[in-house]
């Protein structure tokens, strides 16, 4: 926390309720309400009986709470559990793949000298310069060639590739900041390279691992565009794809079903909100490692 001195209308350091401080909190509370309201409204709506959802004017607080819309999601398409598990499987593939590949590559870049190292590192960062949307269509041809189209595994391969530049970068910095003496001692004791990495180094770079795992989660849990292109069977749909399909095909939710729709939005949002609140320290450190460099 630096530079309250640079802030307009900043509150004085020792809190008395000066007009400036009151204005400060009034602004914060108003803005927070604006940002929170749509999120809260989804949860509130999903817990209201249908009669209250379609009441005019809207009932701001539910008079009666019900879980009927969540139970009804069983009837949506192949049942909501199917789409949740598709999303979970895709996210797990993505996180595990990203962690393994970024950790190995980050360690290799941080601690070894080999021919072509700098060129390879630039190559690893290349996707940061060229957005994936630009190569999505030829990528479809590649996946089709590898028999990986219309599969959650194939989709997560793309998510992993998209996460690798950031992941490699973060892990290289994490390993580079571990004192070399630890490795030297282990190497002198005859410890093998693989054991050294997994037993000694890995516990020291846990913050980096949490950071890239978290980014991999958000990217793969929320991703719509690639999923839309590569998944064609309804039974393979991930949650964002289910939501997009619900808009173009209300029949999927059994006609206009605001409660069910908002319940599935709530289910899609909730893990993101909880994970962010619990792990935001790692999120911010990931963002600053990208922003400062």
């Amino acid at each position: 926390m630096a530079s309250a001195a640079g802030t307009i209308g900043a509150p004085p350091r020792r809190g008395r309720w000066s007009p400036g401080l009151i204005a400060f909190y009034a602004a914060c509370v108003t803005l927070a309400a604006v940002f929170l309201f749509p999120l809260a409204w989804t949860f509130v709506t999903s817990l209201k009986p249908t009669a209250e959802i379609v009441a005019t004017p809207p009932s701001w607080l539910p008079r009666r709470l019900t879980l009927e819309h969540y139970r009804g999601l069983d009837e949506v398409g192949q049942g909501i559990v199917r789409y949740i598990s598709n999303s979970v499987v895709t996210v797990l593939y993505t996180i595990v793949g990203t962690l393994i590949l970024s950790t190995l590559a980050g360690y290799g870049f941080a601690r070894f000298g080999f021919w072509g190292k700098n060129a390879l590192f630039v190559m690893m960062l290349a996707p940061l310069m060229i957005p994936f949307q630009a190569i999505m269509i030829p990528l479809f041809l590649v996946l089709r060639e590898l028999n990986l189209n219309n599969s959650l595994l194939g989709l997560s391969m793309i998510y992993i590739t998209a996460q690798l530049p950031f992941g490699t970068f973060v892990m290289r910095n994490a390993f580079a900041s571990v004192p070399r003496e630890i490795e030297e001692a282990a190497l002198l004791d005859g410890c093998g390279q693989i054991r050294l990495l997994f037993q000694m180094m890995l516990p020291l770079v846990i913050p980096g691992i949490v950071t890239i795992g978290l980014f991999a989660f958000f990217a793969s849990w929320n991703e719509l565009y690639a999923a839309l292109i590569y998944l064609t069977d309804e039974e393979k749909y991930t949650l964002p794809l289910l939501l997009a399909a619900a808009r173009s095909n209300p029949g999927l939710f059994g006609g206009t079903n605001w409660g069910g729709l908002q319940a599935s939005v709530a289910i899609t949002m909730l893990p993101c909100l909880l994970l962010f609140v619990a792990l935001q320290r790692y999120y911010v450190s990931g963002l600053s490692s990208g922003a400062v460099k």
Binding site: A2, S3, A4, G6, T7, I8, G9, A10, P11, Y25, A27, C28, L31, F35, P38, L39, I53, V54, T56, P58, L101, A105, G108, G113, F114, W115, L120, M123, M124, A126, P127, Q133, A134, I135, I137, P138, L141, V142, I160, T161, L164, R180, E184, F218, N222, L224, L228, L239, P240, L243, A244, R247, W258, L261, Q262, V265, T268, L273, Q280, V284
Partner: protein, 308 residues
């Protein structure tokens, strides 16, 4: 690395050259799996894109080499230019409010006051929600009969009856911009905040000693030293806007009458509804060219030689 290697090499009983070669091979092997992913799922498609764009390449069936015909056709393609202009307009309209709100939020969140961390978290929350969820959430709020937005506008007397936000291109664009600002301003806040917190505090103290007021400090310390962060946030915001897809695909489905078809949406439709993979890839190349030019321009305009 040289230090560690040298110490290991001085160990008796080890043959230096082999150890060094082993370490080189080990380093390469550690990097190899990740590099292979980038190769197969990024570099190969990128090369393939260049090749495909020179062909009449249907999604299914035989392909034929057509040279630069696709690029020639693109220059004369009204739908492409309309969509590029629409996407440009969207980028120009959505970026200023994101920056103004993001900056205001960063100023608030940078204050030293109890509870400010909580507000920072709350401002940022919509950012972690995906576009799919955000769109469907707003879709209900926008509903003409049951939506809270119309209800609130009726309450304050701005609106009588009900407004179908997504039925007209202008109101659809306006409401999508509102949604995107709501969803992304917190991200810009966080980037600017990280930049603000990297500014050394003694600059502010020195300025205060010299009698500079808050506005003066903002104008001559905060803003100039945030230049690099602004450049980064601006490039991210403009690039993100040019790549916009989800919000238009879900909320307006490109309509009414294709008036809100973003460029990525047009590319996708060309490939997977008209099955013209070659031509769609040509469009993607053109978009990539636009993005590279725009990003370099922004980085040049906001280049920063400040030392502190």
């Amino acid at each position: 690395m040289a230090v560690a290697v040298d110490r290991v090499l001085t160990q008796p009983g080890r043959r230096p050259r082999i150890v060094r070669a082993q370490r080189r091979a080990a380093g390469f092997l550690f990097v190899l799996p990740a590099a292979a992913f980038i190769g197969v799922f990024f570099l190969v498609p990128l090369g393939l894109a260049a090749w495909v764009s020179l062909h009449d390449w249907p999604l299914f069936g035989a392909t034929s080499f057509t040279g630069f015909d696709n690029f020639m056709a693109l220059v004369r393609d009204g739908a492409f230019w309309r969509s590029l202009w629409f996407t440009t307009r969207y980028a120009l309209l959505v970026t200023p409010p994101i920056f103004l709100l993001g900056f205001a939020l960063a100023m608030l969140a940078n204050a030293r006051a109890p509870g400010v961390g909580l507000f920072r978290t709350l401002f940022f929350l919509p950012n972690v929600v995906g576009f799919g969820a955000a769109c469907l959430l707003w879709y209900f709020m926008l509903n003409d009969q049951y939506g809270v937005i119309n209800a609130a506008l009726r309450r304050v007397g701005v609106l009588e009856g009900s407004l179908l936000w997504l039925a007209k291109a202008d109101t659809a664009l306006a409401i999508i911009i509102a949604m995107v600002v709501w969803k992304t301003a917190g991200g810009t806040m966080l980037l600017l905040l990280i930049g603000m917190q990297a500014i050394p505090e003694d600059l502010y103290q020195a300025a205060a000693v010299d009698g500079a007021g808050p506005w003066e400090r903002l104008r001559s310390i905060t803003l100039p030293l945030l230049k690099r962060t602004f450049a980064l946030a601006l490039v991210l915001s403009i690039t993100g806007s040019y790549l916009a897809f989800d919000q238009f695909f879900i909320l307006t489905q490109g309509g009414p009458r294709n008036a809100t078809t973003s460029i990525v949406q047009l590319i996708t439709n060309t490939a997977f509804s008209s099955f013209e993979v070659g031509y769609a890839t040509t469009m993607a190349f053109a978009l990539l060219g636009v993005l590279i030019v725009l990003s370099s321009m922004q980085l040049f305009l906001l280049r920063d030689s400040t030392q502190y």
